[in-house]
Amino acid sequence: MAVVLDVENLKTYFHTEYGLVKAADGVGFHVDQGEIIGLVGESGCGKTVSILSVMQLIQSPGEIVEGKVMFEGKDILDYEANGLEMRAIRGSKMTMIFQEPMTSLNPVLTICRQMTEILELHLNMDRHSARERSIELLRMVGVPDAAGRIDDYPHQFSGGMRQRVMIAMAISCNPMIIFADEPTTAVDVTTQAQLLELMKDLVTRLNTSLVIVTHNLGVVARYAQRIYVMYAGRIVEYGPAEDIFENPRHPYTIGLLNSVPRLGEKRGARKLIPIYGLPPNLINMPPTCAFLPRCTYKTEKCESEPWPDLRSVGDNRYVSCYVDIQEKE
């Protein structure tokens, strides 16, 4: 399958008054055409910063220090963040669905204006056909009475409906890749199920790639084909979803899976094993593995050596750990 996006060694640092925050520190991932991948990690681990960097939406004091983002055969980090080339990609070939639809839609413009703007700008449609197309898009994402509601303002929509509008906007220019940043965290579970099914149907139908950024392991287990696990600004493990859930190889991934309750487990059947300690403060990090203070598998080597690079452990699996954690006992 053709690779749509290939990110290599992406480093985004924030120069704060307390010190340098390495929010993304050598992140690499690739996305194939029509593939759904999951980027998993806790808050503050750099998942959002990574995808914002790919779209060049990082603002001062943040800075993309290093890295390559190959998209359609070109390194798009060479483009000016606000230059013509980048603006032609952003919002049309590469789109994003944000977490909170109330803050990502403009409250003083009608849905029609916000949707037609994209179509007029990127596809040179005239106002009338852009409106027709917007109504059609709203129908596609399941907004009831689309023609009647297109002139409404965002506050007249419920949270789930607003997120549908966001999805409609994201697919409006037939993008190559959609980034969904915690797309369902702000909505209820039954609405979450509706939205995720909708997104999955749409990407299959349009043969688009989808990157789901989330902290919810269940969501990625259900939809993602491959998973990247992030911790403290780096990818610590990646591979096919099924293998990672069945046989996690990084202590952090193991910890995450052991610490979440699963539906259907009998009460008391399994005691949750929390990950002790706290996620690290990203300011002035030590050179050793960031998970070291919380790790239950650590060896002497981990204390003295720098943070290990990702290494192949077979079957398209990669893990950044010195310890060889074999099959689950």
């Binding site: 099914e197 269940g218 287990a221 859930f245 979440v260 699963r262 539906l263 949750l272 929390p274």
Partner: protein
């Protein structure tokens, strides 16, 4: 319900809580938000009852009615054998020492200017349960109980992490040795790796102190993990109550089935075999809920009768109660 009374910690009977919507200069009532619309359930001693539902279904209001932070519109709340639903403020004070509350947001529920020690010690002072060195000792003991070092007592909330802050909230709730603790979404504001720490803490404390919990949350997998029995709420009403195992293995109400199927399980192999019921539409407004069964406009089993008659919560055997005409 044929359980003997002395085994029951709290029983809620036909509880209604309506919030009036007022309009205009004269503030006349134009409608009611029917936050809780006639619910009944009980919690046995030393048990955990989970209360799940989507936002706006009335689960937090239920917890607050039991704590008597609200004056219920009608119905009774029998706490340790006594109806507290109409008690005046004066009589409520000693009762409240017997009930603890843990809130969702560990940032908003702690006074940022108070030290951890004084937050935890306040309930003891209010209820005249300890003074002087006794108070100091008790605070230290409580902090240790929830896994914090007593030396941290002089810190203010912003010096703690989210998980530690929630531990302070737990210590405060337990200060007066309550018998019932209302946990209102105690972990949903925490990071995934920290959630398990708090869940385990709550479980350990329950065992150690013989606590009774009302555990309110929207995440059914967490609720199922911690609860003995689970009540599912939809738009102000309880649609199903049963043991947490039975709820997963044999859900009867169409809403419970949809809710269960909507929750993804972190196991891709299992996920492939699960059938998904995707509900159509959205939760209606509690100001103007549908007539008959509240769930009927979204239900695939609904008949004409469902849009006319409110289904009673009835026992289908083994304490499994469900409110559906078609089951």
């Amino acid at each position: 319900m044929n359980t003997p009374d002395d085994n029951i910690m709290v029983e809620v009977k036909n509880l209604k809580m309506y919030f009036p919507i007022v309009r205009g200069l004269l503030r006349h009532k134009v409608a009611d938000v029917k936050a809780i619309d006639d619910i009944s359930f009980y919690i046995k001693k030393h048990e955990t009852l989970g209360l799940v539902g989507e936002s706006g279904c009335g689960k937090t209001t239920t917890g607050r009615c039991i704590l008597r932070l609200y004056q219920p519109t009608s119905g009774s709340i029998i706490f340790e054998g006594k109806d507290i639903s109409t008690e005046g403020e004066g009589k409520l004070k000693p009762l409240r020492a017997n009930m603890g509350a843990i809130f969702q947001d560990p940032y908003g529920s702690l006074n940022p200017r108070q030290t951890a020690g004084s937050i935890v010690g306040d309930p003891l002072k209010v209820h005249n349960m300890a003074t002087g060195t006794e108070l100091e000792d008790r605070v230290a003991e409580l902090l240790r109980l929830v896994g914090l070092h007593p030396a941290m007592r002089n810190r203010v909330p912003h010096e703690f992490s989210g998980g530690q802050r929630q531990r302070i909230g737990v210590a405060r709730a337990l200060a007066c040795r309550p018998s019932l603790v209302i946990c209102d979404e105690p972990i949903s504001a925490l990071d995934v790796s920290i959630q398990a720490q708090i869940i385990n803490l709550l479980e350990e404390l329950q065992e150690k102190m013989g606590l009774t919990y009302l555990f309110i949350a929207h995440d059914l997998s967490v609720v199922q993990h911690i609860s003995d029995r689970v009540a599912v709420m939809y738009l102000g009403r309880i649609v199903e109550i049963t043991t947490s195992e039975e709820l997963y293995e044999n859900p009867l109400h169409p809403y419970t089935k949809a809710l269960l199927s909507a929750i993804p399980i972190p196991d891709p192999k299992l996920e492939k075999t699960r059938t998904r019921i995707v509900l159509k539409g959205e939760v209606p407004s509690p100001v103007n809920p549908p007539i008959g069964c509240h769930f009927h406009p979204r239900c695939n089993l609904a008949t004409d009768e469902c849009s006319q008659t409110r289904p009673p919560l009835r026992d289908v055997g083994g304490g499994h109660q469900v409110a559906c005409l078609r089951v």
